[in-house]
Subunit: 317 residues, 2 copies
């Protein structure tokens, strides 16, 4: 398939063409770039939902039932299509091989309105965050109404990835929320909806209280018209609370569109993406102009402590 | 104090001068850079020990008792001095204000051979990883024998920070290790020593077994002379197992020096640091050459979907 045919097939809902294009985009090939340029005018419609939180909080199970919930027809949209990007910055596996995917496949396989993709650090040139942005654009242009971007942990790279989203869910579970280190201020800052999953376990009140206390602290700095993140309980494995979660997500989408934040987050996202591209390109261009061996010689002098890092920089530039 | 006086004071063990210089280095000031250039020839001696692992595994408590253990005189070194850098990528607070520091201060304050510093993302220009590298160089040149670099979580930025170290400890606790998502392949790859902290809790055998199984899998790819990461049990709050942990750290240091990996990790660390500096400098220089408003105009066209990110990049460069 050439670029034209790929773009057409992806726009027409061809899943194999979509999966292949995503691989091209992940590997930053010429075909991937050309197709993305052609698809870009069709982006900006999908609701991007980031899902992050402590490891072990049950994010994958929650994303599975949430995907099914978001598939349910609404009066506006009789057929909502949902894509899931499972992002694992610490995994070497990309494509469909991430741990836990077998469970996921069993629950969701066979629904033609759900598309699942795993992404890992090593498959992504130019950084995982950049690759995730590009892949979510492909899915957006392919007509998915919702793109769920799920991260494995809650570190800085997960926060960066969650920032791609219009709506960010932070998922905790009882026992984890009690630990002040698990509910980081940085994570709460990006949360639009807080979910206490595994809410049938003991300690759910403590976790909820800890989250609400942190939110109260954060609220003091919030603007008058700001969105107040709700704290919801779910038991993903029993699908409990998932209807309410879907409603909260919809309420947040309406808030974003009403307040102008939808456009604002879109602009911020594109600005970040452009920054990353510029950075990677400048470094690549500069490297190509460097005399052979110059960098290696500077590294030797660095290791011998004859040059400091800043002195090496000045010598090279 | 001018640069000369600062360098002299830091080398002479003046703690106030050290704390002030670290702030200068974090903020990447001219004084900070100049002092770091002058101090750089004195670096390369300290043993850098990274401590990472799941949130809630008790890393801070473990680092506290470990610092006290590493202070104990050896036959070679009657007075070992220990610095702690507590790195929190998700916290806005830098200096001495990170959560949990009050506990730390209570345990360690008053020991003139221990120096503690908290670092956060927002205090660090040019990236937290770069700032942590620079601060650890200051502490190294100031004559600390050991620099403990503790991270809050176990995300990609924590992995990047742990890579600064000669020896990386990965700390888990019972109940977390059972969860396959908590013991990520990426984290295990960087572990030189695995610690199951809170080992008096139920489930310690399961966690230990899970870690050993993951290690066995990793070992298949290891070179014949590779270091085999030990799995140790500790109860930090009772100082149990900390003597053995200190011995394992010492054994790893001897291995690194015997095998040449000490030099190799040093070279890799400096190479990474130089890469970051080059990248930041290239972007700053390019921005200064850009016509006023060009970037803003491109961002508007991006948001309107008139240009794709790659097309905007080509237009700007």
């Amino acid at each position: 398939m050439n670029v034209d045919e790929t773009v057409q097939a992806v726009r027409a809902g061809n899943r194999l063409a979509l999966a292949r294009l995503i691989t091209q985009v992940e590997n930053d090939t010429a075909v991937g770039r050309a197709a993305l340029d052609r698809l870009f005018p069709f982006t900006g419609r999908a609701h991007l939902i980031g899902v992050t939180g402590s490891p072990g909080a049950g994010k994958s199970s929650l994303v599975n039932v949430l995907a099914q919930e978001l598939r349910r027809p609404t009066s506006e949209k009789p057929d909502r299509r949902v894509a899931i990007i499972a992002v694992d910055p610490s995994s070497p596996f990309t494509g469909g091989a991430v741990l836990g995917d077998r469970v996921r496949m069993r629950d969701l396989a066979g629904d033609p309105g759900i598309f699942i993709r795993s992404m890992a650090a090593r498959g992504a040139l130019g950084g995982l965050s950049a690759a995730t942005a590009a892949v979510s654009q492909v899915l957006d242009a392919a007509g998915f109404d919702v793109v769920l971007i799920e991260t494995v942990g809650a570190g800085q790279s997960e926060v960066d990835i969650a920032r791609l989203a219009h709506t960010t869910l932070v998922v905790e579970s009882p026992g984890m929320g009690d630990d002040i280190q698990a509910i980081k201020a940085g994570i709460l800052e990006i949360a639009d909806i807080l979910v206490v999953n595994k809410a049938d376990r003991p300690g759910v009140e403590n976790t909820e209280r800890a989250l609400r206390t942190m939110l109260e602290l954060a609220k003091n700095h919030a603007a008058a018209d700001a969105w107040l993140p709700p704290v919801l309980r779910t038991v993903a494995v029993q699908s409990n609370g998932v209807l309410e979660l879907g409603q909260a997500i919809e309420a947040h989408r309406e808030y974003l569109q009403r307040s102008g934040h939808w456009q604002q987050r879109d602009a911020e996202r594109l600005s970040t993406e452009l920054d990353h591209l510029i950075q990677a390109t400048l470094v690549a261009r500069w490297r190509s102009t460097l005399p052979a061996g110059a960098l290696e010689a500077a590294l030797v002098e660095l290791a011998q402590r004859k040059l400091s890092p800043h002195q090496a920089l000045e010598k090279l530039l």
